[in-house]
């Protein structure tokens, strides 16, 4: 297993490196950040000075090597716009996104699994059919529209919850987060729900399909024939078997939540990484974009690794081993 993890980390390093190359040169192709940075009435000398200060006067290959040297020492370069280190900028925005992603993942699990279980165990009831119809809506309605509707309903019409911003934060266990305050939680609820909606639907459908399939397996009937209570049959014999696909999908989705909650963050003016990425892209702030995507790749690799390890915990038939490169 150690060999497995080491190998996976080496592969991760390679992927991160390739990502940096693609993004670094890709952003360069899109446009010239100097046009965005300098006021139109600046004179030629000033433009030249700025270009030199940003290091954009050198050949692109050299710029990249310079960047790599920096990365080796933990320096991802300075943001063209803010003049601050890109990494610091990203880390500053990260907690907001992480808390949003975590809460929405939690919602997907806590709502999706019970609803899916119910729909799977009692497929003929009206409620179950309602749950399934709801999950289809959750899938197909676009996030931005649902977000607007949520704001409309809960913030404008009912006035129960705030519509924008992160709210108060507090420090607990050394982590500053809006999870620890009432105001923070009330700000968190709507964007998290908006982000979670697709995943809740996904988990409902996965759980239901798993239940429907597993319920007719002999091992469930055998468990009943042993005289076990229905709750033990469902919570142990059934759940442990259907969790595997759910964990896989949720792992991948969690990566997606962290990296690409752009739409939700924009609608709810949530000061997270997604918003930072979109702003940086629009302003061709290359150091931030490159650093951001490298970090996201790292996230994905780590999440996948965790999912693989969880597999072997959930399913004894899975043994972690190298399947070659």
């Amino acid at each position: 297993m150690t060999a497995f993890i080491i190998r996976r980390l080496l592969q991760a390093a390679l992927v991160v490196f390739l990502m940096s190359v693609i993004v670094f040169f890709g952003v360069n192709v899109i446009g010239d950040p100097v046009d965005m940075l300098i006021s139109p009435d600046a004179d030629q000398a000033e433009i030249a000075r700025t270009i030199q200060a940003l290091g954009l006067d050198r050949p692109i290959g050299e710029q990249y090597l310079h960047f790599l040297k920096g990365v080796a020492t933990g320096d991802f370069g300075k943001s063209f716009i803010f003049g601050e280190p890109a990494l610091k900028l990203i880390l500053h925005h990260m907690p907001a996104t992480v808390e949003l992603a975590l809460v929405s993942l939690l919602m997907a699990i806590l709502l999706g699994i019970p609803l899916g279980l119910y729909a799977g165990l009692y497929p003929d009831r009206k409620v179950s059919k309602g749950i399934i119809a709801g999950s289809i809506l959750g899938f197909s309605l676009p996030t931005f529209w649902v977000g607007l509707m949520l704001i409309m309903l809960f913030a404008v019409v009912l006035g129960w919850l705030p519509s924008t911003g992160r709210g108060d934060t507090a420090v607990f266990l050394g982590i500053e987060s809006s999870l620890w305050t009432r105001d923070g939680l009330s700000h968190l609820f709507l964007p998290a729900l908006n982000l979670a909606l697709t995943n809740i639907s996904l988990v409902i459908r996965l759980t239901r399909a798993g239940v429907r399939e597993a319920m007719h397996q002999d091992y469930i009937k055998f468990a009943r024939a042993k005289g076990l209570s229905e709750s033990r049959v469902v919570s142990v014999h059934l759940m442990k078997n259907i969790l595997i696909p759910i964990v896989t999908v949720l792992g991948l989705e969690f990566g997606g939540l962290l990296a690409f909650s752009v739409v939700t963050e924009s609608i709810f003016a949530w000061p997270g990484m997604g918003k930072l990425l979109i702003d940086s892209l629009l302003q061709l702030d290359r150091p931030v974009v490159v650093a951001y995507l490298m970090i996201i790749v790292l996230f994905f690799v780590v999440i996948n690794l965790v999912v693989d390890i969880l597999y072997s915990v959930l399913d004894p038939r899975v043994r972690l081993k190298d399947q070659g490169a």
Binding site: F222, A223, A225, K226, G227, L228, N241, D315, R317
Partner: protein, 324 residues
Amino acid sequence: MTILAVDSLKTHFFTRAGVVRAVDGVSFSLGQGEVMGLVGESGSGKSVTGFSILGLVDPPGRVVEGSMLFHGEDLVTMPTREIRALRGSRIAMIFQDPMMTLNPVLRIDTQMIEAILAHEKVSRKEALKRACDGLAQVGIPSPEQRLRNYPHQLSGGMRQRVAIAIAFLNNPDLVIADEPTTALDVTIQAQIVHVAQNLCRERGTALIWITHDLAVVAGLADHIAVMYAGRVVEAGQTDDVIDRPRHPYTVGLLGSVPSANRRGQRLTQIPGMTPNMLSLPEGCAFRDRCTHNDERCKESPEITTDSGGHAIRCFHPQYEKAPA
């Protein structure tokens, strides 16, 4: 002493295509420590009979008529909670495919201990000890280690032994074995039959052995019930049924089994196919495949029992009994 008396049990499945009368008036009784062979083709209702006794018939099926007295109490009308208490403690079941019956993601010890703890308040340690003894009794070497294995680490025969050990954990009065040897190699089959037979003898456990293999029950059962299309068509002492079958269907079944007594002769076969349970012929269900089919068979024959307890459901009994 009779421990189970099933009387005109009917279990029907209400499917979209129509009502399937999987079990349509089955009666039999079983004394303490007796072994009954329930024989029939696939789809004859023998497994559904077994599941009906345990109250484990999946929807859209349900028991619609009849009674099943277990120690005098009717399982048909018994509340779910009480049936659950009987399952695995007084009545246990062994399934057909050992590859599928054990939960693949739970260790053997978990699956054995929970079967004990569901019915008795004992410590985990005590339960583990009993699980270990149980494995030893079905002939599993180094049971302590096997307890910590997952099902996929055991062979098919080994898994069926574990399933048998689980069935006998709480010393049931009745074990229902639903084709427990069908999925196994022939050599393993004999071992499994032997293990189950010994446990029943030692503990005085009654056994219902469901199978399509007459050869297996011939050496195992005290009496046999042959099922066809949801009904018992012939029942009696094992020797009577095997040596002097009276129903044309049983005759056909026995004729299709190779035997040392009939070396060199052709095996007979029963013409036609297993009936479609949705469209059974009027009268005798076996009529279409029977060489003795005539006008009378358009009526449904009643079951008739002779003085020796040999019962058949046919207007044309074969093998006239030798005068007593």
